[in-house]
């Protein structure tokens, strides 16, 4: 019989000795090379963290392999980052390069620090979710292969965070990332009255629609959808199996840019849509990797040093962003939801 409510493992038992000894006493850090951080404490103790890219979806063998490495080089301790990288915590400076060599032999990339493109925060996709409009792991693999050089170097104007969500539930960080890849539908749900009658709480289903496109249908003991008001968010399908919305021919990916969460210099920003639709084209999603690379390279060539994607765009103006990237602006990018007015240009100041 299980012990209930004991909570997570106590973190204190999971910390290496050097962290116990210098807890809360760190003085400063350096980034001696891509993927390596050096933290120095008030006592002079030095901790090296070697950051390694992970596919996030991993096997037992992967975890056991990194455990073996942590045993050999890090006294049996490691951690994971908020972006799903692995960090080896090395207290012996002499072990840093041998560890990096061992990681290289196993094809594990060291990087993701400083002005780099770190790991892509992503979701379940076709591997395990029932509401996706695209896959997660496959798109992430394709994009990271294409942008690999930016993970293992630190040559961008500033850190660039990419996130992916396989539907607009936007699990993860797509709404607040420098570049966001989001799965979208383009067709209304297909109503299965029988399934709705059997397994749906109709008032909750009606309330789930952001645009009020769903009305009760008392005659059928089901609902009707006003297709003209539906923007295919899929939240009704989340509420009811009778609102099937997945459509292989019309599902795909939207690209948003310019979000950030840190408060440095400028306030946190939402990502904004710049490409409303790209097709699902597995296994390599070339339209998506091309679009992302174009945005990354245009940003890298034009932003000031230290300037985040959103800061760069806000400085030069969104109209200039579309000119520089060559991305087509169209009416689908103009907000028409409830908070839209504040996104309109209520000023005569703009660039041609």
């Amino acid at each position: 019989m299980a012990i209930l409510d004991q909570g997570p493992l106590n973190y204190k038992e999971q910390l290496p000795p050097i962290i116990h000894e210098n807890y809360g006493k760190w003085r400063y850090h350096e980034n001696p090379k891509p993927g390596v951080l050096k933290h120095v404490s008030e006592s002079g103790a030095e901790l090296y963290s070697v950051r390694v890219g992970s596919p996030r979806l991993v096997s037992l063998d992967f975890i056991r392999e990194i455990c073996n490495l942590a045993d050999e080089y890090c006294d049996g301790y490691l951690r994971f980052t908020a972006r799903h990288n692995v960090e080896f915590l090395v207290s012996d400076a002499a072990k840093v390069e041998p560890l990096i060599a061992a990681l290289g032999e196993r094809g594990l990339p060291v990087g993701g620090t400083g002005a780099s493109i770190s790991n892509i925060v992503h979701t379940q996709g076709w591997v395990h979710c029932h509401t996706p409009a695209t896959d997660a792991s496959g798109v992430v693999k394709a994009v990271m292969d294409d942008l690999y050089e930016y993970f293992v170097s630190s040559k961008l104007p500033a850190q660039l965070k990419i996130s992916l969500a396989c539907c607009l539930n936007m699990c993860g960080a797509a709404h607040c990332s420098d570049i966001a890849i989001v799965g979208v539908h383009r067709t209304p749900p297909r109503i299965d009255h029988e399934k709705i009658r059997k397994g749906t709480e109709i008032p909750s289903l009606v309330a789930s629609c952001p645009t009020g496109a769903i009305r009760p249908n008392p005659k059928e003991k089901s609902v009707v959808v006003n297709d003209a008001k539906c923007m295919y968010c899929g939240n009704c399908y989340t509420m009811s199996p009778g609102m099937e919305i997945i459509d292989p021919d019309n599902d795909g990916i939207a690209i948003l840019v310019g979000g950030k969460v840190a408060n440095a210099r400028t306030n946190p920003m939402f990502s904004r849509m710049v490409i409303p639709f790209l097709p699902n084209n597995p296994p390599r999603w070339p339209e998506v990797t091309d679009a992302v690379r174009n945005i990354v390279e245009t940003y890298a060539a034009n932003a000031h040093k230290g300037e985040k994607m959103g800061e760069w765009i806000e400085r030069i103006g969104w109209e200039r962003f579309f000119t520089l990237t060559g991305i087509e602006f169209n009416e689908k990018l103009i907000d028409d939801f409830i908070f839209s007015r504040e996104t309109f240009r209520t000023s005569a100041a703009f660039k041609y």
């Binding site: 299980a2 012990i3 409510d5 004991q6 997570p8 493992l9 106590n10 973190y11 999971q14 962290i19 760190w26 890219g53 992970s54 596919p55 991993v58 096997s59 975890i63 056991r64 455990c67 049996g76 301790y77 951690r79 994971f80 980052t81 915590l89 990339p109 979701t123 996709g125 076709w126 395990h128 979710c129 029932h130 996706p132 896959d135 693999k141 394709a142 990271m144 292969d145 690999y148 607009l168 993860g172 797509a174 709404h175 607040c176 309330a207 789930s208 952001p210 968010c233 939240n235 009811s240 997945i246 292989p248 021919d249 840190a262 408060n263 440095a264 210099r265 946190p268 939801f337 908070f339």
Partner: protein
């Protein structure tokens, strides 16, 4: 099952980024369900659609959350994926592990699951990806025997997570690891037994760099800050100058409030403390010379959420400064009042940010007994549509 080819997924074993396909193939060697997952995923790549049935309600005795039920919509063809549930394991603060703990999870999961995992889910849990219904209770029994517990799912407190904090960061303004651990333990009931209008997430970040993205990804963000002046080490400033850092350009000119002054002659950097908004830019650029102030605590923000239903919200300030110390009583006392109000007033599947938006900040603040302060808004309202309580009006 007969050997099937997976040409599309094989393509994703190429390239320099570590391949999830390679990982699934490693698991497939030992586990039939993982093998079928590979083939089902190949089929999804061919058909450009997922093959998981809607929903699924499974769990373990005593809890209402922690397991995500999942069933394939092609059970005849993929019998080992007929049920393929996810178990969320609450991870230790800051995702620190000793290898013994990780190996323990692996051993249990090898015996009773697919061998596939996510390290970690976006909320922070270790995700055990794919097992059958009959294995859920034994998995939980064995995990709990080894000191692990499940994380949250459904309309409950989800597993809190935190940045690396004082474990390895000189910017940490409070003990994020301890706050996350203590508060997760305090609210075990709320985490394991869904009883609210909808989900509720905590994220603890030690400073305004917000390395857990708490402002965007949690209903309640606890972001470390300080109340006095940042501390400048003038000797270290001179070292940065000697190393060639253009302090005026890179640091002062980027200060959002123009609060930093650099005297090029004396090579001294000064700050107008009352003008500083503690954005972290100067500290990030000169970590050896500038540190957060001594009077440290956190800013509490509420309402962060993603798109559905009414658009994404970033959290907004409700407490400009709170000490995060001891047993975190002040914080817990506040959360008790907030949850009571939300539980009473929130509609089904309404995140707290949306409830406050619908009923108004004024009602929310009055109900939970927080005074209105200018730090809560970017700017005051522009419209004159003000509600006045009757008791403030002459009768």
């Amino acid at each position: 099952m007969a050997e099937k080819r997976t040409p599309q997924l094989d393509e994703l074993e190429k390239g320099q980024w570590p391949s999830f396909v390679t990982e699934i193939k490693k698991a497939a060697v030992k586990n039939e369900a993982s093998k079928e997952l590979l083939h089902l995923l190949e089929r999804s790549y061919e058909e450009k659609r997922g093959h998981w049935k809607h929903g699924g309600i499974v769990g373990v005795k005593g809890y209402g959350g922690g397991v995500i039920g999942r069933y394939s919509d092609l059970p005849e063809e993929y019998p080992n994926l007929a049920a393929f549930h996810t178990v969320r394991v609450n991870s230790p603060s800051g995702w620190f592990y000793n290898t013994q703990s990780l190996r323990t999870i692996c051993d249990i999961w090898e015996k009773r699951g697919s061998g596939l995992m996510n390290f970690h889910g976006a909320t922070g849990d270790a995700i055990l990806l794919g097992t059958t219904t009959d294995q859920l209770q034994p998995i939980f029994d064995e995990l709990s025997e080894e000191g692990f517990d499940l994380g949250g799912s459904g309309s409950d407190l989800r597993s809190p997570s935190c940045c690396v904090g004082p474990g390895r960061c000189e910017h940490a303004c409070y003990d994020t690891l301890e706050a996350c651990y203590n508060i997760t333990n305090e609210y075990q009931d709320e985490l394991h037994r869904p009883m609210w209008p909808y989900k509720f997430k905590f994220k603890f970040s030690g400073c305004a760099n917000d390395c857990t993205a708490s402002i965007a990804r949690s209903d309640c963000a606890i972001i470390g800050t300080w109340r006095d002046s940042l501390i400048i080490d003038q000797e270290a400033v001179k070292v940065y100058v000697a190393e060639g850092l253009n302090i005026q350009d890179v640091v002062c000119d980027r200060c959002p409030t123009n609060a930093l002054k650099f005297n090029a002659e004396t090579q001294e950097l000064s700050v107008i403390a009352e003008e500083c908004t503690r954005c972290m830019h100067c500290i990030n650029r000169m970590p050896k010379a500038i540190t957060p102030g001594k009077e440290r605590g956190a800013t509490i923000l509420i309402g962060g959420k993603s798109t559905i239903v009414q658009s994404a919200f970033m959290g907004w300030v409700i407490v400009p400064f709170m000490k995060m110390e001891g047993d975190f009583e002040e914080f817990k006392d506040l959360m008790g009042r907030i949850w009571e109000w939300w539980d009473e007033n929130g509609k089904t599947r309404e995140r707290i940010g949306e409830t406050i938006y619908r009923l108004g900040m004024t009602n929310f603040l009055t109900a939970i007994g927080l005074p209105a302060v200018p730090q809560m808004v970017y700017r005051p309202r522009a419209n004159p549509y003000v509600f006045w309580p009757e008791d403030e009006i002459k009768k």
